[in-house]
């Protein structure tokens, strides 16, 4: 096989058995890799009703066929499991070097089963696969773990690990690699912690083969030129990072503020990419084969929030900033550093703090619940302290470790949780931007922007400008973006390449890497197949059409101030058409014809 290695590892952590198994060409073509292939194995090998933190759940690390080639930004792998935050199929993507290194070692994927009796880590060096004792690194932060494992194995190794949050089963614990890159959402780090697996270190010396290196190089040059000609390859992301989005969302009136009570934050600029570049940026950082370099190496010198590390990204700056009514960039960045070091998803963490502030200001909780801390919107020190408490597993932090839904539900008010399917929505207000609201509601892992980034046409005007206030045409738009992203995630490419590359370009790259003739239509159909497979997993897990909804706040309480004042989301105008276009019945269940057409 070309592109794919054709081989994966199956490791039973309970018995310590390591097996090397083969991926058949038919299966590879049907699901590509990454998210698609991982979901296939979850669906065929795991009961969707399984307790996510039990040994019966599986944890899959999977790269796609383009990952590790020199295609632009071909660095991504996915961590797939049943997520503990909300019980949906979870697939969290990350860049860095881990995915390419896994393939250079000779594997497309690792399936982890069972539970180790004691803390362990995996050391993979080409054909050598060892399960090693992790007693001495259990409890260590992500940078400490990475350094210790590299010292014990190979300084060139890529290390994907959990921090103390994953060990403590924080429901939104993530998996970090290269210290600053995260498979961030849905709590895949807690699944890793539940298996007593601290880290996977991998060093590979092989390569990814392509059938015709010259033809592949030509396809890569063509794709790279397209990305460079687009905004994503221009100065914006490199100079300002993803945080450059703060101002455009705020000027639109679509920047969720104070736990989505509002959609406009007057001092948002203080936490935007322009301020970040001026005040904290050391240098941009890129992943393997990246021509974009959106990552931020930063340093905070303010003694109150001093630190150094990566971030914040846009979603993080929003979650700890405007969503908490905070405009202190130093505090926002400090909260980000804590999450990186302890291994926690910044979106769910920030949104959970915002939810707690909302509960506190409305008198649902008091200082008796919060270890004596007054939780008012805008209090940067309180926000950072809550993040620290969650990371350390202290007091009220244990409540926050459940995510906003379970935390608010425990006080009798889940409606304060700004979640879809119990996962926190990211930094786009669906009242101001209709299509993204439908995407959040129908997202297979709950509230999430990287399942169908309709912000691109609805706000950023790419590839075309579509009116964010209009619902007409949005169901079809959402489906196109969702399917494209599912196929892309399964290919091994960074999502940001889609600002410059369409399905046709990606299919061309895939064809050049694999030697198969993958047409644009086939590429999109693979995406639809993966989307429907994820839907089937969720339906079998017990979810239903009742879960395809937005928080009532977004459909009944208009935005209070700013350019989008008075607007609500009108999901009822979109959801029935979405089901119909998906080939699902009115209960949101894929019809037999739809499944047959997709080969499911």
């Amino acid at each position: 096989m070309y592109g794919w290695i054709g081989r994966y590892l199956r490791i039973d952590l309970g018995s310590g058995t390591v097996r090397k198994e083969v991926i058949t060409p038919d299966l590879a073509r049907k699901y590509l890799g990454g998210r698609g292939l991982g979901t296939h194995f979850m669906m065929t090998e795991v009961d969707p009703k399984v307790d996510p933190l039990s040994p019966q759940n599986k944890l899959i690390f999977a790269a796609g066929p383009l990952c590790g080639t020199n295609a632009p930004s071909a660095s991504h792998y996915d961590v797939i499991s049943k997520g503990p935050l909300n019980g949906t199929i979870a697939a969290s993507s990350s860049g860095g070097l881990f995915g390419p290194m896994l393939k250079y070692a000779g594997y497309d994927m690792i399936i982890l089963e069972g539970k180790s009796a004691k803390p362990v880590y995996l050391w993979i060096c080409d054909d050598v696969v060892e399960i090693r004792d992790a007693a001495e690194i259990w409890g260590k932060t992500v940078p400490e773990t990475t350094e210790a494992i590299r010292s014990a194995t190979d300084e060139e190794a890529s290390v994907a690990c959990i921090g103390p949050a994953g060990e403590r089963l924080v429901l939104f614990a993530n998996v970090m690699n290269e210290c600053g890159r995260a498979a961030g959402r849905s709590g895949v780090g807690a699944v890793m912690g539940s298996k007593n697996l601290k880290a996977i270190a991998v060093r590979g010396t092989g390569a990814v083969r392509v059938p015709d290196p010259k033809a592949f190089r030509e396809a890569v040059v063509k794709a790279s030129a397209k990305i460079k000609a687009n905004s994503v390859g221009g100065k914006g992301l490199k100079n300002y990072g993803t945080d450059v989005l703060v101002n455009i969302l705020n000027e639109l009136g679509g920047l969720p503020t104070r736990n989505f009570l509002d959609g406009y934050f007057p001092t948002a600029d203080k936490v935007g990419g322009e301020s970040l570049a001026k005040q904290l940026l050391i240098r941009p950082r890129g992943c393997y084969a990246c021509i974009i370099s959106c990552g931020r190496a930063t340093k905070v010198t303010n003694p109150k929030f001093a630190g150094q590390g990566e971030g914040p990204e846009y979603e993080t700056a929003w979650a700890f900033g405007p969503d908490c009514g905070i405009d202190d960039l130093d505090a926002v960045t400090k909260a980000n550093y804590i999450c990186n070091d302890y291994g926690m998803d910044t979106i769910t963490m920030g949104s959970s703090v915002a939810c707690a502030m909302n509960l506190f200001e409305n008198g649902v909780i008091t200082t008796k619940d919060t270890d004596g801390i007054a939780l008012n919107f805008g209090d940067a020190e309180a926000m950072v302290e809550l993040v620290r408490k969650t990371a350390e597993g202290e007091g009220f932090g244990k409540k926050l470790a459940l995510g906003s839904y379970r935390m608010a539900e425990s006080y009798g008010h889940p409606e304060y949780s700004m979640t879809c399917k119990k996962q926190e929505m990211p930094a786009y207000d669906p009242r101001a931007i209709q299509g993204i609201g439908l995407n959040f509601a129908t997202g297979n892992r709950g509230g999430c922007h990287v399942r169908g980034y309709t912000i691109s046409p609805e706000v950023l005007g790419q590839p075309v400008k579509l009116d964010p206030r209009v619902t007409e045409g949005k169901p079809a738009l959402d489906i196109t973006f969702q399917d494209l992203t599912a196929a892309l995630d399964s290919s091994g490419m960074c999502l940001f390449t889609t600002f410059g590359l369409g399905a046709e370009d990606l299919a061309e790259l895939l064809s050049a890497a694999t030697g198969l003739n993958i047409t644009t239509e086939e590429f999109m159909k693979i995406g639809a197949r993966i989307w429907n497979l994820e839907r089937l997993f969720n339906l079998k897990a017990g979810l239903s059409a009742l879960d395809d909804k937005l928080p009532e706040r977004l459909t009944k309480e208009p935005i209070l101030t700013g350019p989008s004042k008075g607007l609500v989301n009108r999901i009822d105008e979109m959801l029935p058409e979405y089901y119909k276009l998906r080939g699902w019945d009115s209960a949101g269940i894929p019809t037999k014809n739809t499944l047959a057409d997709l080969g499911l």
Partner: protein
């Protein structure tokens, strides 16, 4: 009438962060941008092609609405309008 112009990302290097302009009535956004272009040639070359077309992926908001959904360059300005100029940006 008074118009506020806000610039973001690289555009701040050309015209600063924000300015207030007093302009005569019955002016369109296109006319205002042409005048700004006269004052700040770098801004003009970044925003427009040599033949005067707005370049791809540039967004211009008036009070939070993209002019693409108003009357584009013919959109009339009114007193108190806030104009936001964005170079091509991406992220997520």
């Amino acid at each position: 009438m008074k118009i506020t112009v806000r610039a973001f990302a690289d555009y701040r290097e050309f015209i600063g962060k924000e300015m207030e302009l007093i302009v005569p009535e019955e002016k369109t956004i296109g006319e205002l941008l042409a005048e700004l272009g006269d004052r700040y040639p770098k801004l003009r070359s970044e925003m427009f092609t040599p033949t005067g077309e707005l370049k791809d992926f540039i967004n211009i908001f008036i009070n939070g609405r993209n002019i693409a959904f108003l009357k584009d360059m013919a959109t009339p300005l009114t007193d108190g309008d806030i104009i936001a100029l964005f170079p091509p940006v991406a992220g997520g």
